[in-house]
Symmetry: C2
DNA sequence: CGCAGTTTTGATTCATCTCAATTTGTGTGG
DNA sequence: CCACACAAATTGAGATGAATCAAAACTGCG
């Protein structure tokens, strides 16, 4: 099914995405060795899957160009977008735990990925501590990213979520040398909604509100951020109701302080 | 701050949690070597932190006994519970990416964890491929768990979420030798609500509904599942409205098939 | 025993969803 | 090149599920 052609010169060293990607800050010698495990490039056309939930896992992928989404399905066929991945970001780490992919990865535009056979990666990262550490960092980052997404889904209101979403995109695009204030959305309102736990109409209304307030300009999927600091303010809820304010009564304070010393009071035992 | 006493005999080999824990299926020889990197045990009293967001990262922790929650804060001090951890589960992997913890870990009852100094763990897992693979599996599992939680937060209704939550707890407790149908919740309604993106009152009402329907019995935090299959049904929404049914019109089908071939049609290029 | 924290329950409000209609954009075939 | 079909996005009106506010009951701890 999957035809792997050994890489002649995938040349991470020449890739301008290196710093965001798995190689990270690998030195030249290690970089060359890393290149030897690369399995070549794969082109995925817009709308097509890089992998599907249930497929056997054998490799992770670095996005070389283009844009992806990952999504998961419930038993009753509702789906939820778990993330969007752009150049330099890694796809497929969900498959490591059981050697089976647990989500779908779909290209949102014609894209190219670098195939990294997982067995080889493990082998080499036993030899190269920098590579090993890079891999762990990338996986850990994915865990942390998950926490942020949970925050969006769990506690943020519509406008807060959408503002956070746009600022996150802006940040990632900026790091890749694109404009911080002007970009093209690769996903539909429905996909944004799915990611943020909202319906597409709700996303659309929020965009319209932002536009009315002069925070951004929206023309279909073309976004221009007119007021970055305004957008940042929208991310944070104005604590309108007293519930959001830090408790001040003495009991609450005492209790909070009781739990505020962390490990200092942890009894460390010899085993 | 953190006093680490070298382990005399932490003895994973004798620990009945081994299979769920980082050591996993390590053989005896590897297990002994793994024991040598363990940093000892730490006792955390109920309500106290194992680590806090912002603290420097230096180790991960395996829950030896007790129960934890992890939570993250928004800029405006709203917090969100990202998970609950029981015996054999690993805490602290969020800290690997930037050597700083990005969430808080709080004991929900008097607990004990095994300290695993991260630098040593990396070192040893370069030597032991089974340990290396175990570590990757544990991290990947955490990523996948995040996806499931996003599903709960993004697409599930109150009763569906709570049913899924109870069944997940039941499953994890069963694996550890406890009753599948009867257990004690270690967290408050508010913490459950935070985890599921709900308010405590909403959680309480959902518990009451389940009880009225004879699905479970609730006495404070003591839960008895009376009808497991009923609870499983509640996890899945009855597709009441046509939107939930797979689209049948020819256009939609054609489009779906167009994206259903995965890698088969991916062009594999030599690099 | 008494108090504080937790949980339950009720009444009401409100944010988002749902349903529906319209507009805009895009690709296709005649 | 236009017309058509369809996907995507906007907008409005109304429904609804969960949040909010409020009060009471319960529990466990000091």
């Amino acid at each position: 099914m999957k035809i792997e052609i050994p890489s002649l010169q995938t040349a991470c060293a020449q890739c301008n995405l290196r710093e965001f990607c798995l190689p990270g800050d690998l030195g030249n010698i290690d970089m060359d060795r890393f290149n030897t495990v690369l399995g070549g490039r794969i082109r995925i056309k817009r709308g097509h899957h890089l992998y599907r939930s249930g497929e056997r896992f054998s490799a992770i992928y670095a996005v070389k160009s283009g844009f992806f989404k990952t999504d998961v399905l419930t038993d009753d066929a509702r789906d939820h977008v778990t993330g969007f991945q752009m150049a330099g970001e890694i796809l497929g780490m969900d498959g490591i735990s059981n050697e089976v992919h647990t989500c779908n990865a779909v290209a949102l535009e014609d894209s190219e990925v670098c195939l990294i056979p997982y067995a080889d990666l493990e082998g080499l990262s036993r030899e190269l501590r920098t590579l090993q550490h890079q891999l762990h960092k990338v996986m850990s980052r994915e865990i942390v990213r998950g926490h942020s997404t949970m925050l969006l889904l769990g506690v943020k209101r519509v406008d807060e979520s959408l503002a956070a979403f746009l600022l996150d995109l802006s940040k990632r695009l900026t790091a890749r040398g694109y404009s911080p204030t002007e970009f093209h959305l690769r996903m539909t309102r429905e996909e944004i909604g799915s990611y943020l736990g909202l319906k597409l109409e709700t996303v659309s209304r929020s965009f319209s509100r932002f536009q009315e307030e002069g925070i951004i300009s929206v023309e279909q999927r073309h976004i221009r951020i007119l007021d970055i600091s305004g957008l940042k303010k929208l991310m944070t809820r104005i604590p309108a109701n007293p519930r959001c304010i830090v408790p001040t009564n003495s009991q609450k304070m005492r209790r909070l302080q009781g739990t505020s010393r962390g490990l200092h009071e942890a009894a460390v035992l010899s085993a």
